[in-house]
Amino acid sequence: MATFINNNFIPVRLHVKKHPEAMGRFNVDWTPTVLIVDSDGKELYRIEGFLPADEFLAQLQLGFGHAQFTKQNFADAERQFRDVCEKLPGTDAAAEAMYWAGVARYKATNDASALKATAQAFKDRHQNSIWAKKASVWG
């Protein structure tokens, strides 16, 4: 966990009593809240509430994937999303990661078969997730 954070982010920890101004600055009104923001302070991803370690790591990797996606680094985003699917398949983030892995591949290649393959993959995994329903339109 710490290695992933140190390698991919500049980590900033803000205690609500010591840095109350930061709560307003980043529209935070509950703790724990974790934000991924770009170098202009623009929010890219938000995690609210406590999570067990594996779920938190999955959400963090999902968020990192979304940050790459926002920067149009679609191949890196897909790698990150697939990593969640393969290494943390039992987490709630896995279904969402599978959906976005398909989208990232489509954005990288402009090949719509990536979306169809994702819809097919949802027939074997995470069938009851909302992400399977979202992907169902693709095939």
Partner: protein, 36 residues
């Protein structure tokens, strides 16, 4: 036995934003009410 890696937290958002531009990494902001 491998040494446990610790997260390298800072508390200075504005300095972190400046560093973010230089090293091309996003910030991870952890808002907490837990004792530090």
């Amino acid at each position: 036995m491998a040494a446990e890696v610790a997260t390298q937290w800072t508390e200075d958002v504005d300095q972190a934003l400046k560093e973010s531009k230089q090293v091309k990494k996003s910030l991870l902001l952890d808002f907490t009410a837990a004792p530090m």
